[in-house]
């Protein structure tokens, strides 16, 4: 199915060269799916870790449950090799502080 670009309001069919370039871009996008999924997973993990960072301060005492929770967050990327693996990740439940 041919692609069309909209230039100043005029629909223009992509040339063969433009189609080939777009195909290559879309393939590169597909090839990067795992890296993007891992980046999003790490962002969410890092956000959850940051929410309990204050418990690691020297004037706080971290419970064993919180230590386990934070270690589980750090380990959450272990063994993931596919996008499906990443999408199946279940985050641990945050214990009471």
């Amino acid at each position: 199915m041919p692609r069309y670009k909209l230039v100043n309001g005029i629909n223009i069919q992509l040339t063969a060269e433009e189609e080939a370039l777009r195909d290559a871009e879309e393939q590169a996008w597909l090839d990067g799916a795992f890296d993007r999924a891992m980046a999003n997973l790490r962002q969410k993990r890092n956000s959850l870790l940051a929410q309990t960072d204050y418990l690691a301060l020297s004037d706080q005492t971290m419970s064993a449950e919180m230590t386990t929770y934070r270690q589980a967050l750090r380990d959450i990327t272990n063994g993931l090799t596919t996008v499906a693996d990443v999408e199946a990740v279940v985050f641990p439940t945050k214990p009471g502080a």
Partner: protein
Amino acid sequence: MAISLAQASSMDLSQDYNFTGTVTGMGTAGAMTLIKTLTASSSSSLSFVNGSNDVVLDSTYKAYKFVFKNVHPATDGVNFQFNGSTDTGSNYNVTKTTTYFDSIHREDDAGGSIQYQSANDLAQSTSYQNLARSTDNDNDSNISGELWLYNPSSSTYVKHFMNRLNHTFNSTPQHTMDTFVAGYFNTTSAINAIDFKMSSGNIDDGTISLYGIS
């Protein structure tokens, strides 16, 4: 005797007034002029190119504003991107250095955060700049916001741009994501065309309007 100063309470603005004289002193400074609105319809890209079909992107205005309304990707989880051209759209490959950060909040009220996204900034790169990442393509999802481009025809300075938009992040549960992108086209050649597209797939729907600010 002509009234030179009228207090606000002296005029009934619910009435119709017929001014037959010329209003002076207003000038055109600060006027925002709609130049062109493009409406996507399964479009691979949307481009504004100076010099045809009533589109101006030159020294006519010192600042330009692109307004995105309900831009909807055809493909799930893609990035909305843009690039500039110095050859009226033959090539979109201008060198850019940019910053990118976003704030995020989930529909289940968890995970609120602000984060710099180093994977989405550019350092002297000619690649397309992401304006929104991992955009959801659900029927109720879309991208809305604006991009400013300053003095694109300068032959002296680099060209700065600033983008802020909101969109639905592709995740479960869905997130709202407020994205901030800024940077500059590192060239003293005039930027005379701007191109918008998705990292993969078409722009299914939505409008992008270009305004000139005098």
